[in-house]
């Protein structure tokens, strides 16, 4: 099975996610790979980025030398604020999240189940220091949750599973998964493949995915 298929690059994955974000959306991007999505919003489409540490209207990264220690994103990296941005305290920020005011959130994952359960905060390793941040608030509060992740772990294990074995972040919360190999919708009838990366055919995808996949009939 171990054909050498590279799939999409991180930037290509980010572009796929960005293309699926409608103009006018309020969007929260998780730490890591999801942060790339901001660079790929199509020209002429206006999307407002929220960061849970208190800024609506996150702009591009500052140029070197213009970083401000007090203007950062949830990943604690320096950012800028767009014209028309607003600052607010943490309880208001999570009122936006929990209150259903944020349209889309893009998060990373350790595991996603075929029912849309997400595990992305702890691998449950004994002795590891648990850290949850805002992930549990985001998955319960934001209307649509996209997951952006490599299809498999570095060890080659499927991140898409029948049931998560890691501690859950939320149950039945994920709508769509963007991996380096495919874009997959989570539906009432299970995992529906929308698009596949070059070279990643049905046989290959099934060989690297632990949960059953449904393909569109052509």
């Amino acid at each position: 099975m171990s054909r050498d298929i590279k799939g999409w690059s991180r930037e290509e994955m980010a572009r796929k996610v960005a293309e699926d974000i409608p103009g006018g959306s309020y969007v929260n991007l998780g730490i890591g790979m999801p942060e790339l999505v901001a660079n790929h919003i199509p020209e002429g489409r206006e999307v407002i980025f929220h960061t849970e540490n208190g800024l609506l209207g996150v702009g591009p990264s500052p140029v070197t030398g213009a970083e401000d220690d007090e203007l950062i994103n949830a990943g604690k990296k320096p950012v800028t604020a767009i014209k028309g941005a607003s600052y607010f305290h943490h309880a208001d920020s999570f009122a936006m999240v929990r209150g259903g005011h944020i349209d889309i959130c893009v998060l990373g994952a350790f595991q996603v189940s075929e029912k849309g359960d997400l595990a992305n905060w702890s691998t449950g390793t004994p002795g590891a220091i648990p850290a949850v941040g805002g992930a549990m608030d985001l998955v319960e509060g934001v209307k649509t949750i996209f997951v952006m992740t490599n299809h498999t772990t570095r060890g080659g294990e499927s991140k898409i599973v029948p049931e998560c074995t890691y501690p859950l972040t939320g149950k039945g919360v994920v709508s769509r998964i963007y991996t380096n190999m495919a874009v997959i919708d989570i539906t009432e009838n299970g995992l529906m493949v929308r698009e596949t990366a070059p070279g990643a055919d049905r046989e290959y995808l099934e060989s690297i995915t632990d949960a059953p996949l449904t393909f569109p009939s052509k």
């Binding site: 800024l55 220690d69 007090e70 600052y87 305290h89 943490h90 999570f94 702890s122 220091i129 501690p167």
Partner: protein, 236 residues
Amino acid sequence: MIDKIANSASEAISAVFDGATVMISGFGEAGSPVELIHALIDHGARDLTVVSNNTGNGHVGLAALIENRQVKKMICSFPRTADSVVFPELYCRGEIELELVPQGTLAERIRAGGAGIPAFYTPTSVNTPLAEGKELREFGGRSYILEYGLKADFALVKCRAADRYGNLLYNKTARNFGPVMCMAAECAIVQAEEIVGAGSIDPEAVVTPGIFVSRVVHIADPASENRLLKEGRRYP
């Protein structure tokens, strides 16, 4: 005349007692009241329960307070960050307690504590290990868990500008937990980069009204935790 301005950071934090619960503002380094924390290290109050989003970086600020063994318990959402070395070591040795709270629940627990709300229901963490042992209730067909408001004896908060009434303005994303922590603490102690005359903050623009603030100290040029970190500094 009401005047909440203290002469120094050490005077401002002098009332902190052993066993107190202390909220400390900041998200990572943004909004961390480094000078107030260092004054608390000099002061030496012990057995503190500290409520803060993270556990500090390197060997300065909150990390230094923990390293000085003044903290018995941390209540926070994200105790391990790239530069956090002190807390992980003590935690792995079983020498400090941790109550892990989702970030939005932490913010709301603090807000509720300050607003006289003893407890509330939230959907956050339902069906996860963090909901274990918590009361579950359905509203409109959806499950929620009961979370309790959080209050503190003291809050240590950093802001950009303050007047003698304790009206506060913050700076960008350094605002984060500051306003709700001022509300939830019996005694909110604030370090301000600038002290302005009463009346010079537009009442429409005041972020924290002075009623929530007990003491203000002027720290004109606050240390950048990032810079202290890069220089490998330690406190004391």
